[in-house]
């Protein structure tokens, strides 16, 4: 299963969990799984715009980016720039 690493503020919202194993195949499935598992995280996933780093590559607003069984995933705030 893919491993989601949670640091900082997100770890607090996930009840202190730092590593979460998730059986998902893409970003949309990941977001749904996290919202179900961590209700405190759900409104932030809906309100804030998050990006997903999959094995170091950042995907922003890409629901169907594939997640492999051995992927390392990080949830990070979306970056916009100026």
């Amino acid at each position: 299963m893919a491993r989601l690493i949670l640091d900082g503020s997100l770890r607090q919202l996930a009840g202190g969990d730092s590593v979460v194993e998730v059986d998902v195949q893409n970003v949309k499935q990941l977001l749904r799984t996290l919202s179900e598992r961590y209700p405190a995280l759900a409104p932030h996933l809906e309100q804030d715009s998050f990006a997903i780093a999959i094995d170091g590559e950042i995907f922003q607003d890409v629901w169907f980016a594939p997640i492999a069984p051995d992927s390392e995933i990080h949830l990070i705030p979306a970056i916009r720039g100026g």
Binding site: D48, Q60, P77, R80
Partner: protein, 761 residues
């Protein structure tokens, strides 16, 4: 030729990419023919003007517009009642999550005016004189409230409260009392206590920065025309016509397809033209008056009411061993958001230690509202502030352990595989290469004289991709009209044309770039995040390959050979199969397109991903006049990883421009308010951005570590160059004077006071 080992990169010899042709829009811009925001005119158009709050914080009891409305020549008067009130929720607008409750109140105050210059009403009249008279006739009954300008004061429990429904996000449990602290964020990993316990040297400092304006020369300007049936057109200076459309449609209760937005040429944006101010007001006035309405901000209005970037207070602590390995880094960032939440503290926190490979790191950030204009993005938003503080402390740690500052950075530099402080591991990046280039540069070993100092700093910025469309329309003579949806700020017409020409194998002069309006293409995110050469470049390459596929198909039909037997080589379809060698040029195929299947258009509509971070290292020499405190920049060298410089001159231009803006941020620029929250320097005479005589020629070195996710290896380059200057200059001034400078700007009075204080000790 590109990196042959990476299968995603174009592997053939490059003929156009990497050269320095003249820009397609150059002649228009040097002859004055280019049309900027204020250059549009329509018959019978009205002049729009805004009434702005004279108070930094005041409740609006009532607004009486009756006298203004009855003035001859006035055709419309609007207040917040003419815009949609929207609930406090984050709604997708284009690619951004926007709280429209805040946006509608920022473009026009409702319950309260939250900063001096906050719009409270607007008029449209037949000329500017009558519009000004009408503004004077609007009666606003204010209840003046206490105001707060500083983040530390705003965080106090008894501080004047800007929003009584703001409860800090990011703390558990959520506070039961409102405050000015909109949000707390935290990033990091490892064990800070253990990390600092291993350190031989620890440096901890507090820093402050002032809000600084993006300083675009062209003020905000627009022309709106709404017809009686609700169809609307808007011409404006913006970094993103599709974002303007999304914002304005929501604020005016329109469908996005009712509104057609055309981006004018843009006289600078730097992030400051990613939001709306007068555009929805012009549309509302035009809707009410049934005539076109033109609005142009004055410089005073720009400085009073359009977003600068945050001022901030920062604390940074770094520990390192004697042999130069950083053991821990800790930072606290408190950023001004202005009157509404949304400072760039989050990306600032993510960038703070990003150039370094750390095992133990923590960054905590606070987003704080104050009675100042709402901040807007400014090149690498948030990054320069945090990295100024970190790079200053890094320099001091290197001094304390007796290591050359570049060697110290090289010992700790982030590389491919390094875990960034915000979590994920980094892909290929070029920080080490920029540090090595800095160390080898003649600048770094040049001798210095008395009162002179040299500073070094590195910087990181993410870069982004995003939704992007492009269209290549092949003309019957073989020329190509290239339509993109991202306004050209830094020479993107040139770089995008070059990639199209390189792909198609034709001369650059046959590509004619056009920035399309919102009806010409699907949605495009704005020109920002250093994304255009990357994202629009990917779209243009994809559209060109779509054209090539269609041309191959036409050739295969003409020759009656399988498609697989037709290859595209240097602008020609060539028959690769057995038999007689045959070739058709792009122009020949275009000429017969009607007979072979119809016009040929190549399209791309993508959500670009894989933008690689860009890192930079800057060197600067300064001289400090010990009698006046004036800092003179003697020499400046900017070194940056561009991935692949499509048009090196425009990459160098970005690096030079960022360095110059950073010089202004470091040495002179600040908003000066009186004790009532009135801005005292709302003009370029007193708000002093650098001019040519303030800066030397900025030398540049482009490093190219290809981004494997782009066909030519491109990384964004527009934002990173403003990250290192403040740290580099502060380090240089500190070395020149022997005093560590932690507060920006290092203006002559501050520098002189610090020198005097040191001498009196």
């Amino acid at each position: 030729m590109n990196d042959m080992t990476n299968p995603n990169l174009v592997a053939r010899e490059l003929k156009i990419v990497g050269t320095r042709p003249l820009r397609p829009d150059g002649a228009d811009k040097v002859t004055g023919r280019a049309k900027f925001g204020a250059d549009m005119h329509l018959p019978n158009m009205l002049v729009g003007r805004v009434l702005r709050s004279p108070h930094a914080h005041a409740r609006i009891r009532s607004i009486d517009t009756s006298k203004a409305q009855s003035l001859k020549g006035v055709k419309a008067v609007i207040t917040s009642a003419d815009l949609c009130d929207l609930p406090s929720e984050f709604i997708p607008a284009g690619e951004m999550m926007v709280n429209f409750k805040d946006m509608t109140r920022n473009v026009m105050a409702r319950e309260k005016a939250l900063y001096e210059g906050h719009a409270v009403a607007a008029v449209a009249a037949v000329n500017d004189r009558i519009a000004a008279q009408a503004l004077a006739l609007i009666e606003v009954d204010y209840e003046v409230l206490p105001h707060v300008m500083d983040v530390d004061e705003a965080m106090q429990p008894d501080a004047p409260l800007l929003h009584d429904d703001m409860f800090t996000i990011g703390v558990e449990p959520t506070p039961d009392k409102p405050s000015n602290i909109a949000k707390r964020v935290e990033f990091g990993f490892g064990d800070l206590e253990a990390g600092f316990s291993k350190a031989d040297v620890i440096v901890e400092r507090e820093f402050s920065t002032k809000p600084v304006h993006q300083g675009y020369i062209e003020p905000h300007a627009c022309l709106a025309s709404v017809s009686e049936d609700g169809q609307a057109e808007l011409w404006c200076t913006t970094q993103g016509q599709f974002i303007v459309r999304a914002f304005c449609a929501k604020l005016l209760g329109m469908e996005v397809s009712q509104l057609r937005v055309t981006a004018s040429e843009i006289g600078g944006g730097f992030g400051g033209k990613t939001v709306v101010y007068i555009e929805p007001l012009a549309l509302a006035l035009s809707r009410k008056a049934c005539k076109p309405v033109k609005m142009v901000m004055s410089r005073t209005e720009v400085l009073q009411a359009s977003g600068p970037t945050s001022g901030a207070r920062i604390r940074v602590k770094v520990g390192a061993t004697k042999d130069g390995r950083i053991t821990a880094g800790d930072a606290l960032l408190k950023y001004q958001a202005g009157a509404f939440q949304g400072s760039p503290v989050q990306p600032g926190a993510m960038c703070a230690f990003a150039p370094y490979d750390l095992e133990n790191v923590r960054i905590v950030g606070f987003d704080i509202v104050v009675n100042r204009p709402k901040v807007a993005a400014y090149r690498a938003p948030g990054g320069p502030i945090a990295e100024f503080a970190v790079e200053s402390v890094i320099d001091e740690v290197a001094m304390k352990i007796g290591l050359d500052p570049i060697e110290f950075r090289l010992k700790n530099a982030a590389q491919e595989g390094t875990r960034a402080p915000y979590g994920p591991k980094l892909g290929p990046i070029g920080l080490v290469q920029t540090l090595q280039a800095a160390r080898a540069h003649a600048h770094y070993s040049a001798p210095l004289k008395a009162n002179q100092g040299r500073g070094v700093a590195s910087g990181f910025w993410f870069n982004i991709g995003g939704e992007t469309c492009a269209s290549l329309n092949l003309g019957e003579d073989g020329s190509v009209a290239m339509v993109v949806g991202t306004p050209d700020i830094g020479g993107s017409r040139a770089s995008l044309s070059m990639m199209a020409a390189e792909e198609l194998g034709i001369s650059l002069e046959h590509i004619h770039p056009i920035v399309g309006d919102t009806s010409a293409l699907g949605f495009n995110f704005l020109t920002g995040g250093s994304r255009v050469t990357f994202s629009s470049g990917m779209a243009v390459v994809q559209a060109a390959r779509d054209v090539i596929e269609q041309l191959r198909e036409r050739a295969s039909k003409i020759w009656e050979v399988p498609l697989a037997d037709v290859e595209w080589v240097e602008g020609h379809a060539r028959c690769a199969g057995p038999g007689e060698a045959r070739s058709l040029s792009l122009a020949e195929l275009a000429r017969t397109a009607g007979k072979t299947g119809g016009p040929i258009i190549g399209n791309a509509a993508i959500n670009a991903t894989g933008a690689g971070p860009s890192l930079a290292t800057h060197l600067v020499d300064v001289e400090v006049d010990p009698e006046t405190g004036k800092v003179t920049i003697l020499r400046y060298t900017a070194i940056q990883d561009a991935g692949k410089a499509i048009h090196p001159a425009y990459v160098e231009g970005q690096m030079q421009g960022g360095a110059v803006q950073g010089i202004g941020w470091a040495l002179n620029e600040e908003y000066i308010y009186d004790d009532k929250g009135h801005l005292l320097n709302p003009g370029f005479l007193d708000y002093r951005i650098p001019v040519c005589s303030d800066v030397p020629m900025i030398d540049t070195v482009i490093v190219e570590v290809p981004n494997p996710n782009h066909p030519y290896g491109v990384r964004g380059v527009g934002e990173t160059p403003i990250v290192p200057p403040m740290g580099a200059i502060a380090n240089a001034v500190s070395h020149a004077t022997g005093v560590r400078f932690t507060d920006l700007p290092m203006s002559p009075p501050r520098v002189l006071a610090a020198i005097d204080a040191q001498q009196s000790q």
